[in-house]
């Protein structure tokens, strides 16, 4: 049986957990002290050896990403932390930064030292006011204690950190859109190459890393690469936050080695809510193809989830029971992608618009017999045809839901989803729906 391995989450329930003094008392900044005694290249090597892979969804090896920076040319190099957590179902970085922001700040200091960065940025979404307060204060406290600023801990290394609040745009979680946004522009993805490692922020070499990735670095420096690889699988090393939500008895954050299964996690979380059964779930947010009960024993690591036809993504495990309409769930996700498409690439902008219309009529029980093929054809014309992965993500719930629940899409040609699956049965509280209005006003 796999057990939990709290590292990042070990002290989240401590009194005033967000304070620097609490963090130091629990061993905080030992990783930075250790790193500053090493050559920067050796810090990079340690992280490479740990096998840490990006925790923001795609799983690219973190140390390798750092290693892509070109040789120094005397100009600035930047670290930008992607704290724009917005993928539906994903809820790990925001609570991490609220409860224990110093984990991230220490990771920023170590990463910056490793890559030769003297000005790092944390781009946090603007819709989390208290998290932004906590980050601003964490930087202030760390600077006052000498962990940031000039001549950090007497090492001669200088680092400034700017915490930047976004203003509401899912697309800014895409790393090049994030960079454009940080430069004061509309957040629209850039054509790659060049990759940010070569031409990122202000066209300078830049590393963009997810919050959890960066926050995992101090532990790797404290414990060493072997400590990290003693958790997880051979190619998916280490600990990760698994976020259970939805129709589960005890939703929440469960930090475990990669490779744990949903069956094990559900057991820890009290199972699917009483009296109900698992119908479908997302392994890593709405952009990862859905799974069903047949996937309960798939190890939640990058390779196994990929082999089973989805992606580990952000380990955002959204659990839906048998009361839930797949058509309604997918329809709402598609509304989201349509709303958040930045409009730059035609296949995504127009494709999500058309997907939303078709899903809308299927949800209303007014679809046509050709709609399933039309949906699949549309997905085929979106997937891989845009600058970034937003459009790709929009196709995931559609194609996977048709794969596993085709009959519900067929039912959408004659019966509304809310009739087949009355919404009050899915709700976590008792209520009587307003039948006359329930289909109106879906996403203005």
């Amino acid at each position: 049986m796999t057990t939990l391995t709290p590292v990042l989450s070990a002290h989240w329930d401590a009194d005033r957990s967000w304070k620097l003094a609490r963090y130091e008392a629990d061993g905080g900044y030992r990783g930075l002290r250790r790193a500053l005694g090493m050559a920067p290249a050796d810090v990079v090597t340690t992280v490479k050896d740990s096998g840490l892979r990006g925790r923001g969804g795609a799983g690219f090896p973190t140390g390798m990403k750092w290693g892509f920076l070109p040789a120094p040319d005397g100009g600035p190099r930047y670290l930008v932390v992607n704290a724009d957590e917005s993928e539906p179902g994903t809820c790990k970085d925001i609570p991490l930064m609220m409860a224990s922001p110093q984990e991230l700040i220490e990771g920023v200091a170590i990463t910056s030292y490793a890559i030769g960065c003297h000005h790092a940025f944390i781009y946090v979404r603007g819709e989390v006011l208290h998290v932004y307060r906590r980050l601003l204060e964490a930087v202030r406290e760390a600077r006052e204690a000498g962990y940031l600023g000039t001549d950090i801990l007497g090492s001669g290394f200088d680092l400034e950190v700017t915490v930047h609040a976004g203003a509401g745009a899912y697309i800014c979680g895409e790393e090049t859109a994030l960079l454009d946004s940080l430069e004061g522009l509309r957040g629209q993805p850039r054509l790659k190459p060049p990759f940010p490692a070569v031409a990122g922020l202000y066209a300078r070499p830049t590393v963009v890393n997810n919050v959890e990735s960066v926050a995992s670095v101090p532990g790797i420096l404290r414990g060493g690469a072997e400590w990290f690889t003693s958790m997880g699988t051979e190619r998916s090393a280490g600990h990760g936050l698994f976020s259970l939500s939805g129709h589960v008895t005890r939703p929440g954050q469960y930090e475990a080695p990669l490779g744990i299964t949903l069956r094990e996690l559900l057991d820890m979380a009290g199972g699917v809510r009483a009296g109900h059964q698992l119908k479908f779930w997302t392994p890593g947010g709405s952009s990862t193809p859905i799974f069903t009960a047949e996937h309960l024993d798939v190890p939640l690591d990058y390779e196994s989830v990929g082999k089973a036809g989805s992606m580990l993504g952000t380990r955002a495990l959204q659990i839906f029971d048998e009361t839930t309409s797949v058509v309604k769930a997918v329809s709402r996700w598609i509304q989201f992608y349509k709303h958040e498409s930045c409009g730059k690439c035609t296949p995504c902008r127009e494709g999500t618009f058309w997907l939303a219309q078709i899903m809308g009529r299927l949800e209303a029980g007014q679809g046509t017999s050709a709609d399933i093929d039309l949906l699949l054809d549309l997905c085929d014309n979106i997937l891989g045809r845009a600058f970034c992965a937003l459009g790709d993500g929009a196709t995931s719930p559609v194609t996977s839901a048709i794969q596993y629940f085709r009959e519900e899409f067929e039912a959408g040609t004659h019966t509304p989803a809310d009739v087949l699956f009355p919404p009050e049965r899915s709700s976590l509280f008792d209520y009587t729906p307003r039948r006359s209005t329930q289909l109106a006003g879906v996403h203005a």
Binding site: W12, R16, G57, P88, P95, G168, G223, M231, G246, Y431
Partner: protein, 293 residues
């Protein structure tokens, strides 16, 4: 707490009455204050243009929305056109094109929250307040929004008030929150400051000016720490740091280059197989299945 909307001018007095005139400038004192704030924001960045997003939050802290005079102020300060400022302001959902209520009440109606009851909460609030998405009550107290996923799915259904978390809501609890807001009571979020601040006060924080409320509220809610506590109950831990911390010595103890100097991490060619250490190489990390993260 003070309630901004009490006795405040109705929203349309800000100059958005159809056919009416926009206020076109700030008085000298206001302009001087905004200019000083803007300079502080600009100083945080290597390039001034990066200050635009926080400056738009600053404008909203003054005017309660991205006003025409605010757009002109940003353009003049940063040396760009008003069209360039507007192009950015209209891209992001937190920038409001008409005067916002004192409190933005956002109901998450993305799939997970919607299914768990967010749709019912939305219907109840919309009917109770008599307004729809992105509309404001006549007294200027509440602007209602359907919002997208706000990274609190383990607390579904979620309502945000001025971007503070109200977790595990029901139609009744959400109505109670808005009634107390309208009534001028101090209302505490589930996770956040000890009471929600006004839209303008919030906007000033988002511009990067702390309001001194960071130590209010909890570090984490119940769902956040469920794994932490379960592990402690059952005696589950991650492998200890200690053995390695005490036994190991730094990989190199001498002749360390500073960051960015010769032999630093970056002083290498682009990645080749030899770029990984032998231990790592043995694991033959494939990169072809990995995209950007």
């Amino acid at each position: 707490m003070s309630v901004e909307h009490a006795g405040a001018p109705a929203p349309h007095d800000h100059g958005r009455t159809p056919g009416g005139r926009h206020a076109t400038g700030y008085d000298d004192d206001t302009r001087a204050r905004l200019t000083a704030d803007a300079q502080e924001i600009i100083a945080r960045y290597p390039q001034a243009r990066s200050a635009l997003l926080p400056m738009l939050h600053l404008v909203q802290s003054q005017d309660g929305y991205v006003s025409p005079r605010g757009i002109a102020f940003c353009a003049a300060t940063l040396g760009i056109s008003t069209a360039e400022v507007s192009a950015v302001a209209t891209f992001y959902t937190q920038y409001k094109r008409h005067p916002n209520g004192t409190y933005t009440v956002g109901v998450c109606t993305n799939t997970l929250c919607a299914v768990m009851g967010g749709d019912a909460i939305w219907e109840e609030l919309s009917e109770h307040l008599g307004i729809g998405h992105d509309e404001t009550t006549d007294d200027g107290a509440i602007t209602l929004e359907r919002i997208e996923c706000n990274a609190a799915c383990d607390y579904a259904p979620v309502v945000m008030v001025n971007w503070e978390f109200f977790d595990n809501q029901t139609p009744a609890s959400a109505v109670d929150v808005v009634d107390r807001l309208v009534g001028g009571e101090a209302v505490a979020p589930t996770r956040g400051a000890s009471s929600v601040c006004t839209f303008k006060e919030m906007s000033r924080v988002l511009a990067g000016f702390p309001d001194g409320r960071v130590d209010e509220g909890v570090g984490a809610g119940e769902a956040t720490v469920r794994g932490t506590r379960l592990a402690r109950e059952r005696g589950w831990t991650a492998p200890s740091f200690d053995a390695d911390e005490h036994a190991a010595t730094p990989v190199t103890g001498q002749d360390e280059p500073g960051a960015g100097e010769e032999r630093s991490s970056a002083d290498r060619p682009t990645t080749t197989p030899a770029d990984a250490s032998p231990a790592r190489e043995q694991r033959k990390q494939k990169s072809d299945d990995a995209k950007e993260s």
